[in-house]
Structure formats: structure tokens, C-alpha cells
Symmetry: C2
Subunit: 502 residues, 2 copies
Amino acid sequence: MISTRRAAMTLRSSLPRSVQPLARRTFSTSELIPDEPARPSVHTSTVPGPASHAASAAIDLIQDSRTHQLVVDYEKSKGNYMVDADGNVMLDVFAQIASIALGYNVPEMMSLSDDKEFMTAALNRPALGAFPPKNWAEILETGLMKAAPEGFDQCTTTLCGSSANENAFKLAFMAYKARERGDSTFTEEEMNSTMWNQSPGTPQLSVLSFTSAFHGRLFGSLSATRSKAIHKVDIPAFDWPAAPFPQLKYPLSENTEYNAAEEKRCLEEYEDILVRGKTTSPVAAVIIEPILAEGGDKHASSSYFRSLRSLAKKHGAFFIVDEVQTGVGATGKFWAHEHWDLPKGEEPDMVTFSKKMQASGIYHKKSLRPRESYRIYGTWMGDPMRALQARRLISLIDSHSLVSHTARTGTALHSSLSSIFAEAGRGIDGAQNLRGEGKGTFLSWDMKDGPQRDAFVNAMKKQGVLMGGCGERTVRLRPMLTFGEKQMGVLSEAVRETLKGM
Amino acid sequence: MISTRRAAMTLRSSLPRSVQPLARRTFSTSELIPDEPARPSVHTSTVPGPASHAASAAIDLIQDSRTHQLVVDYEKSKGNYMVDADGNVMLDVFAQIASIALGYNVPEMMSLSDDKEFMTAALNRPALGAFPPKNWAEILETGLMKAAPEGFDQCTTTLCGSSANENAFKLAFMAYKARERGDSTFTEEEMNSTMWNQSPGTPQLSVLSFTSAFHGRLFGSLSATRSKAIHKVDIPAFDWPAAPFPQLKYPLSENTEYNAAEEKRCLEEYEDILVRGKTTSPVAAVIIEPILAEGGDKHASSSYFRSLRSLAKKHGAFFIVDEVQTGVGATGKFWAHEHWDLPKGEEPDMVTFSKKMQASGIYHKKSLRPRESYRIYGTWMGDPMRALQARRLISLIDSHSLVSHTARTGTALHSSLSSIFAEAGRGIDGAQNLRGEGKGTFLSWDMKDGPQRDAFVNAMKKQGVLMGGCGERTVRLRPMLTFGEKQMGVLSEAVRETLKGM
């Protein structure tokens, strides 16, 4: 385990707050993607164009196509550039909803097709909990565990972010009841009543989440999700509490007093819910994203997050950090919660991941492993093929210093966008509330309202840039980690032109 | 769509009840697996042996290893034979908990590594709901839709069986409320209250499942699962009802009167729950496995299942058939519910699949597609790579007539096991309640109790045969579809020897 620990330390040595680019290894996209297009090229009069529309119509016979943004030629896509079904070449700063780490068809990733271990795993998917491959420990140690956040020695793998969060909830519920139970085991009444979903075997316990949070759309995760009504309406949910997430004013530097008061107010209500829950439905777990992404890229201060963590501990709730979208380098640290500077011993109890990592799961401590076996169990329990893909990704991120590269790029991009928005001079009506400074390329801003945001995103498509929205009226940037100076130039120019034309 | 329909018909032409092997194409394992071992070979004194134990110990530093049965050398495994970390060659009739369709390292599957489309999909996983690949319709039409059960024109893809079931529940809840709502849309009160998990936006609706059922272990699916207390205890669950599943006596031919009365009793209680629910928490969906597998391979008559379906319809509940374990040929039909002979127009509302298909999802009708978009949505929404793997599997199952092969093999295997159990003459104390006649190789039997079952399964390992348990005291067979006469000889001989030695 020592080598694993040491490797993890290297990965975590991401950029300090005072960025000193000259002292650091620089990265050029061509190192990993030798033949990336230099710029977008759009030749259809609408985007999506006719071929995209035709492909969507064909899909619609079998699957709902109303949510399609573009239909893609994945074989032709390269690096930061997606090629659509019409042959348009688009700079992609949405990256499959923040789920592509390095780019499309990166040669060092594609060469996994020549790797016998990878192909064996891809085409012989095991039931990992019962029949793991003989080098599974090595795959984890040299891959997912190299990227483990400080303080974690366990990694429970799953197939997606929602099930990572739901299994984290299950671990928390089991540990909560185990702590109550002490040395004794389940009572007969518990074992009988749980077969009928009744107490005491099926307990009244809850997970506390926050307004605007997104943690997935299965039944447990959806109960903790508070993004949009259309995600939740008509679906039964657990009566779990939501605490208010601070609604900060931007720029942060000009609103320190207001924001501090807002965070204080929210922390008081949060603690109040933790206390009140004890008498009805105790809060076994608190779950939070370091940046509330789907809910509109909502930020809060590191001190706010440190307080959340310590209050959870004070009131006996396990603290889960959902890094499904924020993890794997985009914020300028490998894990976004590293920005919080939590004191040693005060790490989160669990950190969940998915998306850019390709593999999904939960980092946690061994103390959370249930005393009885078969309690966190299923057929696949993760996928060695995705773990091998993650290992290669982690190694490339490390060897090309892509986390510090992204921190630097983000600083420059924030500055460039600030200038553009100031220059556009549309203030309150145009692009506003630029946020994510110091958080790598995990940047976003608001437009006046939802329709204007959608109009902006569509106009950007015509400029050959593919971006995403979130929340009510937010534009979010989620470029890949190989996004650098060149792509930033293309993006900035397109933003400038698009704002001018609106 | 016409070609797809016709292809589906061909696939469904599985074996009629009166098996006439001479009139049918026969299949020999060597067609697909030229160099499969002829028999098991065990050279360690214990199974698992020392290398398996050492690998488990290394894994245990990071993941719970207590559920390991064997650690596997997947590169060396071939066809029906698994090679373990110690080099033992085992006939595998458990197949990764019923999740390997054709065998290990089947050349016609492994050649997908030379397929550019497959590798592009494997290493550029898209957010399917937003950015599908340009030939996604074709992939579905020539793959998953070719295997669609009669009456289905939609396939919503997911990443695992649990999320297939949970998304099926969501579709049912939405359709149930849409029917109630008629032409009107959500009220403001619904949209506001659902953000706090409160009614009316978050409704009191339920999913009815059956005692001994298994539908997954996330929060919605676990609420419908009734397999074992250890799967459920300490985990909050929805207060959803469970109807009794008939406890039939075997052999079925000697207990017709008792079994008919038992099914009648269970149907009455089932209907009673459907009726009573209407006043408190209406049943929006009924979910059932064609054979309750994890719960101990519990069977019922086709007429019982037809009644379940028609009573669900009568009382306004959507009817979901969970074919995660029973689907893809093992029962001698491509889908196990085809054994029920449901009248035309009385098909299930949804059929879920995963495991052997590698791809996961829900077959359903277009009428279940929600009127509003973004209601069944997420990042990945399935995996084109797994859909391409499924397409190749479906094509090979079709071209090698593996469903009728499995029906024939199952008939012969049932007969062979009947003789062995009769010959062993241990009746009530030994192997008993052999079941699955006419259901392909989806066979099982009981041992006296749990410890004797575990002892039998462990003794079989020493004979070089890997099998699984389920329920309290059941031994289940889940061989691959390439399992045939030769492998049957090995299995039968090992069962005979093991029973003798007990």
C-alpha cells in the first residue's frame, strides 16, 4: 500500500493558489492529440443540420429523441473537436455532459484495443463480488487507488454515478444502525419486519441534501435531488429533508458581507434540520456536491463546506461528497473538495465518482465496511474494463500534468471571459455572475433568463462551439483536460461574436 | 421496421413443447469454441486454492472479499470452462451469476477488438440522450430490437438490471398519473410540492411485488425485492405491498390439485391487494420474474401468470416482467414469458433485461413514452459498446439456433438428473424438488437445508464444477447457451459422484 499512497500524493500535488506557470511543466494539446483540428468548421445553415435531424428521426422510432442536441460521428471526432453527423466540426466544451476526460479518440487511449487484458475484460465482464480477475487488486492499486483522495483506503466500484450515491447511502444507513446497535446483531423482529418494508428492520432514517442539488435519478438518489420539478414530479420519494444552499452574490470579492451572512443563515438552518431529525427521522447521511452543477453551478466558500462537514460529524451523520461531475481534475485539483483544506482526520466519510473517470464508485474508509457480508452486493459491482480505462486516464493525467494545466488554463479563461463581458458592456442584461475563479475550467455564468441562455447556446453552435446549460439560466463550461490556449482562443472569440450578435 | 419485425419472429421461433430434435438443426460447441477443454482438471487440494486465496487477500485491502467464490484467470478461460487463479479448469454452470451468454473468450466475440465501430464506442462513451452516434438507430434495429419480445417497438437502454427496473417503475408512475390527469398538465402545486418530496407532486403510489422476488438492490428496486432479510435490513424502503407467490409442490404432475388451489389462493390475495391499494397507495405497477430465481427458483403455471397479467390490467396497474435473469434463451425460449402464451394484445407493458444480454434496458410500447421530455434521462442512458456486444450475441444465438439447442439440452439434462436422483435414492433427505422441466437448462433442485446445499456446491467445486445456490437451500443451474451433450456428461457424472460421497 505504500507505493499506492505515494503515487496518490504525486497526483494530488495540483496547483497552489498562487499560480506560477513558469515554474511548472506546460502541456500542449498536440502531445496527446497530434492531429486535432485547428478550429471549428460549420457548413450547414442550421446546427443540427439535415443529417443530424434525419438520424434523430430514425432513433425516435425506438427511443425518445426530443433531448438530442446533436447526432455525432464519433469515429471522425478528435480531441476537443466533435464531428457531427453532417460533418460539422465543433469545439466541444460540454464533453458529453462533463464525461470525457482527455478528448475523442486520443491515440494513447485507443491503443487499449491492442491490450489483451483490456479486451479480455471488455468481452468477459465478471461478477466482481464473486469471481474477480486474478490481478484485480493490482488494477485497483495502480489505477483508481492512485487517484484516491487523501485519507481513503477503500474503493467500492459501481456502474454509474447514481448507483455510487445510492450505495454510499446504504453504507451510511448500515453504519448508522451498526453504531446504534453496538456489539449486538439484528433482532428477529428486525429480520422479519424488513421483509415487509416495515420498522424496526426497515428504519425511518434519512439523507439530507441541499436545494438545487443533483445526485441522480433513481429512487434513492432522486429523493436527494432538488434540481428541477420535471425530474421529480409523479415519482414517489422518501420524505428526506433539504437544507437551503447559500445563494451567493457575484463577484464574490464585492459581496463578502452579504455572502457571509447568507452562508451563516444556511448553516443555522442546516444544523437545525440535523437536530430536529433526531426525534423523527434521524439524518444518517449528508450529501453535497462541491459545486452544485446541474442546479446552476452554485458555489460557496471553503469555510462553509468545512462547517457542513464538522456539523455533520457533531450530529452523527456521515458526510458524502458527490464528485461525479466535479472530480477528475476540471477544477484545478484532482478532487474539488481538496479546495476546502479540511483538517487531517476531518476528510469526508465518502467521496463518489463517475463521468470523466469512466469507472464509477465510492472512496471510503474501511470502518464503513459492513460487519456482515453480502450487504453491498450485486451481479457486476463495477466493471474491470472501465477500471482499466480509468487507470490509463489517471496515468496520462499524471504524466502530462493535466490538473495543473487545467488550473492555469482556467485562470486565463476566467480573465479572458471577464474582459469580454466587460467589453460587451451589457451588465445586468447580458452575461453576468461569471463564476468559478480559481476552480480550473469549471466556469459558468448566467444569462438574463432561460430563453436567452438557450438562444446563446444555440448561437454558439452556429459558431462551431458546443456548450451546455444548467440551472434556470446558466451557461456552463466543461471542457476536457486537454483544453488549452488554442482552444481557449477559439472559445473566447466565439463568445465575443455571439454576445455582439444578440 | 418491417425487416426488424421479421427478424424478431425468426428468433422467437424457439422450440415447441413437443421436442423433435431430429427435425431441428443441431449445435455442437466446437462450432463456436474450437478448443474448449474436454473436461475439468483440478490440481489443488482445496478449491479455492492458495493463489485464489492470496489474490482475495490482496483485494481485501481495498474491497470486501468475503463474497468471493473463486479468483479467475479470464485470459485462460474458454467457452464453458473457467480457469481459476491456481490453474484449475472448472466447468462453469453458474456463468457469472447467469451473465455469460456464449462462454469465455468466444472467438467470434473477441474479434470485436478488430472492429473500429466497437472500439470507438468502447473508448468514447456518449451521453446517449443528448449526443447519440449517427448509426444508433441501426445498432438498435439490427441488435436489441431483433430480440424484442412480441408486441414491443421501444427500447429504453440503461446500464444495469436494477436501473432497468427502476426506470420501468418511473415509466409506470408517470403513465399512471398521466392517465389520471387526462389532457391537463402539472399543477403549480404539484411542481412546487415535489421539490420537497411532498404530495401532491410526489404521489403516494406503489409497486406490487411478490414474496421471494428479486428485482435489484438500489432503493426502488430493493423496496420490491423480498429475497433475504440481509439484503434489506437497515435500509429505508417504500411501504409497497408484497403478494404471496405460490409455494408449489413437486413433481408438478403429482400435485396438480394442491398446486391449483395454492395458485388460486395467491391470486385472490393478489387481487385483494390491488383493490385495497386504491384507497391508500394505488398500485401503479406489478413486477414479476417468470421464475423467481434469487428467491430459490420458484415456478408457477402459465395460467397463473396469465391471470396476474389480466388482473393487473383490470385494476389499472402496469405489468412489468423482469427478465434480467430468465431472458436470452436459457429457458428454451428467447424470453421466458413466451412460455405463458399470452393472448395477442395482452403482452406485458414492459419487459426488462440485462445480464446475459450485456446491454440493459426496458422493452415497452410507445404509449408509455412520457408526453414531456427529460423525464427519463441521465448522462449515459445505456452504452453503445454493450449494445454492439448484444447485437453480435443475438446474431450468433440466431445463426447457431442456440435457443432450440438449449431447449433440447435442458430436456435431456432434466431427464439425466431425474435418473441420478432416483438412483441415489435419497428422496426427502437428498436432492429433491427437481424443477424447470420444459424450461431449457434453467433447472434447479433443493437440498435438505442450507448447510447441505453449501456442502454440495463446495464438493462439486472439488469435482471441477462451479455452480450456484439460491434461496434457502436450492442449487441452481445457469449454464451458457453453448452448453451441450459433452458438458452435460461431465456435469451429470460430477453430480452423481458428489451425491454418493455425501
